[in-house]
């Protein structure tokens, strides 16, 4: 591995911070146009610099070179050291490329979407701050820098979810997001500390120039943990892996900590697109991929990741099938897709997971922005029951969203097709999972793919096709949100250019980016999978030797065969899903889904009843009013009362009668004399 210096990295990170600072401090007095320009241009600077840096170092990155940008030593206490320094390798390069690119277009979209909002400056300040945090997360060269970004994006997410701070549901959602993330961070922090304890360092890689030993080097020098339960609690690499993954479940909305993400849709739609779809929520995947050398030494952790990922994917997809709010559908879809990514990581296909992150960023951002466009067009109506037939009002939006729809559904040759296929294939052939489980998980993933196709089709059909339900006054009142505009008197309209242009760009991305990762088998060996080639030096893919019991020795030829057949299967699945959805929902747009699904399996209620309320009640009635007030203060006051009780009773010796005093005196004298002479 070779190390270089790349001072431009700091500028990539700092540019949005400068924007945030300007907007935060003086933005209030600036005009909307200027604010928009500042916000977009700082992100554009980052994006252009990212591209420049990437192009400049592409070859080296492909060879696994690393580029550092050391700024200063942040914390150094005893043997603990954390630097403010940035690291570019192919993994972070991919990340910053798509982050800055997608983010730029979302910023552009938002300049239109947020027009006229009194907190315009505030919004963009937060957005820029988010970019800073996200880039820090990705570019940091140690776990603590990652944590800085990790918490930073959490903060911005909090601020942006609660952007409409006069709305209680937005505030609740924001708080919930932060707190649930904190629960995950709990694991993350413990994981980092355990890593430090074991490895003596929290840096990813060596940096000879600074005399830093990377934690991963230590990990690689260790034997892999066995695949069993006890490894999880042994305090070794597996424990580290599991703890870090707990952090990922919070940030990336996996079971059981996914609950914040659907609520997070309370924020403005560009926020949902940027933070809760394209970038922040994939931080968990990034972290797992970044720590791939840990996970490849911790098969048990990987199994956990795979199962949680698959379970989340299926679970969220079923809920997504039953939601009426257009953004909620997309939110559950995001959770589901994130499950896919973790499934990929869990089966050892980190590259595939990242590839799905990459494609997902485009098509999910597109879908969200499209949804945003629809919402604006519908004057802030989000309930799909009051939409329908919008294709004729919002032509561009409709077209671009169709691209996103096909991409996420895995329609062949759209970007989602490639990444999803890769995951399905790698799951099926996973060297990590014990024998039947790889097939079972593959099956789960396939079913999820089917459901994805169905619910996305439902979304498209309900929104753009069918009757124009917004004209039917009071058609449905079950909308959970206090929508601003009164829906039944509106005419939908197409969005302005600032919003449409990003849709078009992202749609192009959603269609095309998949070609960066064409599997070998499709190009018949002519071009190798470029994406995988690029990312390979940065992640440690699981290899056959990881799980001895597994019959891992499939020949390469056989693999290609399997891959092709699986690809065929998934194409069929996607087409079936699209078809089913199309025909069913065209006919029954308002088909009432099962109550259990519509109410999201009552998980929120479960958490509230078993965790939140007991803690509140216990704290109030037991800890505060009983232990604090009664027992501790009671003891303190009681001691005082006992003292004055003694005082009061001793007082009565003082009867006021001289004769009794003499008696006491004589008695005392006798006692003393007695003690003196008899002792």
């Amino acid at each position: 591995m070779e190390f270089h210096n790349e001072p431009l990295l700091a500028f990539i990170v700092l540019a949005p911070l400068v924007g945030a600072a300007i907007l935060g401090l003086i933005g209030k007095n600036l005009g909307e146009r200027l604010i928009g320009v500042i916000a977009c241009s700082t992100v554009a600077v980052s994006a252009l610099l990212s591209i420049y840096v990437f192009i400049n170092h592409r070859v080296q990155l492909e060879q696994g070179h690393k580029f550092y940008n050391y700024l200063f030593t942040w914390i150094r206490v005893g043997s603990f050291r954390a630097d403010t320094s940035l690291l570019l390798d192919s993994l972070s390069a991919i990340y910053i490329l798509f982050i800055t690119f997608v983010a730029f277009w979302i910023h552009v979209f938002a300049t239109g979407y947020m027009r006229g909002d009194p907190g315009y400056w505030r919004f963009f300040a937060y957005m820029n701050l988010f970019m800073f945090s996200m880039l820090t997360l990705v570019l940091g060269d140690n776990f603590l820098m990652m944590f800085v970004g990790w918490e930073g994006v959490g903060l911005c997410s909090y601020l942006l979810i609660g952007y409409y701070f006069t709305k209680d549901f937005a505030n609740d959602a924001a708080k919930k997001a932060f707190i649930v993330n904190r629960i995950g961070d709990f694991g993350f922090v413990l994981g980092v500390m355990l890593l430090f304890l074991q490895a003596g360092s929290i840096f990813y890689f060596d940096d000879p120039a600074r005399g830093i030993h990377g934690a991963f080097n230590w990990v690689l020098s260790q034997h892999a943990d066995p695949l069993n339960m006890s490894a999880i609690f042994s305090g070794g690499i597996t424990t580290i892996g599991v703890l870090l993954f707990v952090g990922a479940t919070g940030k990336s909305a996996q079971l059981p900590l996914y609950v914040w993400l659907p609520d997070a849709m309370a924020g403005p739609t560009p926020v949902s697109a940027l933070i809760h779809a394209a970038t922040m929520v994939t931080a968990g995947v990034y972290m797992v991929a970044r720590a791939s050398s840990i996970y490849t030494h911790a098969p048990a952790a990987m199994v956990i990741i795979a199962f949680i990922g698959a379970a989340t994917a299926l679970f969220a997809a079923t809920i997504g099938l039953a939601q009426w709010d257009i953004k909620k559908v997309l939110a559950y879809s995001t959770i589901s897709q994130l499950g896919y990514m973790f499934l990929a990581c869990g089966v050892g296909a980190f590259g595939a997971g990242i590839f799905h992150v990459f494609t997902h960023a485009f098509f999910k951002a597109l879908l969200f922005l499209g949804a945003g466009s629809v919402i604006i067009g519908m004057h802030h109506e989000q309930d799909m029951r009051r939409m329908g037939g919008l294709k004729k009002y919002m032509r561009v939006t409709c077209l671009t969203m169709l691209a996103g729809w096909l991409a996420i559904s895995g329609f062949p040759l759209f970007s989602g097709f490639f990444s999803k296929d890769e995951i399905l294939f790698r799951t099926f052939t996973s060297p990590v999972l014990p024998a039947p489980w790889s097939k079972i998980l593959w099956f789960v993933a396939a079913v999820t793919a089917l459901l994805t196709a169905i619910y996305m089709t439902r979304l498209i059909v309900l929104t753009f096709w069918g009757g124009e339900r917004f004209k039917e006054a009071g058609a449905a009142h079950s909308s959970g949100h206090p929508a601003e505009g009164d829906a039944h008197s509106v005419t939908p309209h197409e969005s302005p250019a600032a919003m449409v242009l990003p849709l078009v760009v992202l749609a192009a991305g959603a269609v095309l980016v998949g070609f960066l990762g064409i599997p070998d088998v499709l190009s018949f060996g002519k071009t190798s999978n470029y994406f995988e080639h690029l990312i390979a030096p940065s992640v440690h893919e699981a290899s056959g030797h990881m799980n001895e019991g597994h019959s891992g020795g499939i020949e390469l030829e056989d693999q290609h065969g399997v891959e092709l057949s699986l690809m065929l299967t998934s194409t069929v699945v996607a087409l079936v899903g699209l078809g089913l959805g199309w025909f069913w929902f065209k006919r029954n747009p308002l088909w009432k889904p099962p109550r259990l699904l519509e109410d999201k399996y009552y998980v929120d209620e479960l958490y509230d009843g078993t965790v939140v309320q007991p803690i509140k009640a216990g704290s109030t009635n037991v800890l505060w009013k009983f232990i604090d007030v009664r027992i501790i203060d009671g003891a303190v006051n009681g001691a005082g009362q006992i003292a004055s009780l003694f005082g009061t009773s001793l007082r009565y010796v003082q009867s006021g009668l001289a004769r009794s005093y003499v008696a006491v005196l004589v008695l005392g004298a006798l006692l003393i004399i007695g003690y003196f002479v008899i002792r």
Binding site: L657, S660, G674, V677
Partner: protein, 166 residues
């Protein structure tokens, strides 16, 4: 020898009986007279102990002067007979017996091992001469200081007892 013991017992009995009578009398005047009895008995014992000077002093100063003062005050403050005799904490009465018992027991314990039964051959100790000599040599300062004490007592008594307006 036995005569001496008999004499001691006689005076001792008189002393104790008079002392008890102080407690038994309700009228302070009788109590005062009983105390004089004790004092006189004691002075007799002093003589037996070769404290002739002190014995004389006991009769002249104590029984004579001080007790007369008491009697005088008792007569002066002749309080009305029909006054209700308030007694608070009657229990103190019953405390008397155990306390007295305890005290006597302790004293007995202390004094029992003392074995000294002969007066020294030198008979000059209690004489006026020896007392006078000591008073103006070894005890010169205490003797002088008693004058301060007396003066102070006079002032004090005067301040407290004089009538208003003086």
């Amino acid at each position: 020898m036995q005569a001496e013991k008999a004499l001691f017992i006689v005076f001792a009995v008189i002393a104790v009986a008079s002392a008890l009578n102080i407690l038994l009398q309700r009228n302070p005047l009788y109590s005062a007279l009983s105390l004089i009895g004790t004092l006189l008995a004691l002075s007799a014992l002093y003589v037996m102990l070769r404290g002739q000077f002190i014995a004389a002093l006991q009769i002249v100063v104590y029984a004579g002067a001080i007790m007369v003062l008491f009697v005088f005050v008792i007569m002066l403050l002749n309080q009305p007979k029909d006054q209700p005799q308030i007694e608070k904490q009657k229990g103190l009465r019953y405390l008397a017996i155990p306390l007295a018992g305890l005290m006597i027991a302790e004293m007995f314990y202390v004094l029992r091992p003392i074995h000294l039964s002969t007066l020294p051959a030198d008979q000059s100790v209690g004489t006026t001469w020896s007392i006078g000599t000591a008073l103006f040599t070894d005890y010169l300062l205490p003797f002088e200081v008693t004058s301060v004490l007396i003066l102070m007592a006079v002032v004090g008594a005067m301040v407290l007892a004089r009538r208003e307006g003086d």
